[in-house]
């Protein structure tokens, strides 16, 4: 089986290239959505969504809370830039469900506050 091992400088470059897409046109945002793509809650990044990658891992800068969510049952999270162009999408599960993102309750009520407490993007060495 063929293998490839990325040096740290390459991992960082690849990781930064991905997360910097969210900064195009201004502050990007995360949209928590139902399985039918309906918006449940929206959390906005800062002007620079992520800090510079280190050892292939980029960590998000502070993300604004959605203090009055639309509400619904979350199944996925989509990441948009400021031009409303979706860059990537991840699955969301309850804590322990093994999703890319976990939420303390997938059922979000209208008016609830949704806070993103941690977020990383990883580019492994191989």
């Amino acid at each position: 089986m063929a293998t490839i091992v990325l040096e740290t400088v390459v991992r960082n470059a690849a990781c930064n290239a991905v997360v910097d897409l969210l900064d195009v046109g201004g502050a990007g945002y995360i949209q928590f959505e139902t399985s039918g793509d309906a918006e449940v809650a929206t959390n906005t990044f800062g002007a620079t969504a992520f800090g510079a990658a280190s050892v292939g891992v980029a960590t998000a800068n502070a993300i604004s809370d959605d203090t009055s969510a639309t509400g619904g049952t979350v199944a996925q999270a989509s990441f948009y830039n400021n031009a409303n162009a979706k860059q990537f999408e991840v699955n969301v599960t309850a804590v322990g469900g093994g999703g890319s993102m976990t939420l303390t309750s997938l059922v979000v009520g209208a008016g609830d506050t949704v806070s993103v407490s941690s977020l990383t993007v990883t580019m492994p060495a191989s």
């Binding site: 928590f32 139902t34 399985s35 959390n43 292939g56 891992v57 998000a60 009055s68 969510a69 049952t73 199944a75 999270a77 990441f79 990537f88 991840v90 969301v92 599960t93 309850a94 804590v95 322990g96 469900g97 093994g98 999703g99 890319s100 993102m101 976990t102 939420l103 303390t104 309750s105 997938l106 059922v107 979000v108 009520g109 209208a110 008016g111 609830d112 506050t113 949704v114 806070s115 993103v116 407490s117 941690s118 977020l119 990383t120 993007v121 990883t122 580019m123 492994p124």
Partner: protein, 229 residues
């Protein structure tokens, strides 16, 4: 310069990452059909014991107080999740005294009932030939994978506490038991309960019971199950 670690040190470092993690139990040997989950203490493996016969050392997580609200079923495997939600491959589970990686008081878990972990152990001095097997169980999926990993929290707005049944007041629980009415007044099912599973949750695989039918979400992972009806 790379640091050389002994096998024991490597395994202990891996185990430390499960401090405050979770053990998720499944009804299938291949890690499908979620039965329930138990949160690991921190540290997760606080005790090292030594085998009197061969002097092997074992890291042990002892008795964990049982937690309830499980989907129920027969336990056949489990995965350990660390705080970053990285998971092991499915591990064997046995009853207390069986000598398995993970031992529980009973493999038969009632719907809504507790899972009582009596012991989780890992050999810190495995023969070299068996290291891959040990690593398969405890460390194999710890390597970072490409992707996004995040956590988010929901804080309920005033009046939305009915979305979390564990937040209901005693009066609300009594009313619910009496006439199947949620605190917001929405009657969503009759209180009579069927012990036959109505299918699996499309998200986590937990059994869906008649009592949950037509509800907003799976009692295990909160995924919407309204479409199953």
């Amino acid at each position: 310069m790379a640091t050389t670690m002994t096998v024991r040190e490597a395994i202990m470092a891996a185990l430390k990452r499960y401090d405050g993690g979770q053990v998720v139990f499944y009804s299938e040997a291949d890690g499908k059909g979620r039965v329930g989950a138990v949160t690991l203490p921190s540290p997760a493996f606080p005790t090292i014991v030594q085998d009197e016969d061969d002097n092997d050392k074992w890291a042990v997580c002892g008795d964990i107080p049982p937690t309830g609200q499980c989907g129920g079923g027969t336990i056949r495997s489990a995965r350990l999740f660390n705080a970053e939600m990285q998971q092991t491959q499915p591990l064997g589970v046995g009853v207390t005294g069986s000598g398995g990686y993970i031992e529980v008081e009973s493999l038969e878990i009632e719907h809504g009932g507790p899972i009582h972990i009596t012991s989780i152990s890992c050999d810190l001095d495995p023969p070299i030939a068996s290291v891959p097997k040990v690593l398969r169980g405890i460390m194999a999926e710890d390597a970072p994978e490409p992707g996004i990993m995040g956590t988010a929290e929901v804080t309920r707005a005033a009046g939305n506490h009915w979305l979390d049944s564990d937040k209901w007041t005693d009066a609300e629980k009594q009313k619910y038991l009496a006439d199947g009415e949620r605190p917001d007044g929405w009657k969503f099912y009759e209180p009579e309960f069927s012990h036959e599973s109505q299918g699996e949750c499309p998200n986590c695989g937990a059994d869906i019971w008649a009592g949950e039918y037509g509800d907003l979400s799976c009692s295990m992972c909160n995924a919407s199950i309204s479409n199953l009806g």
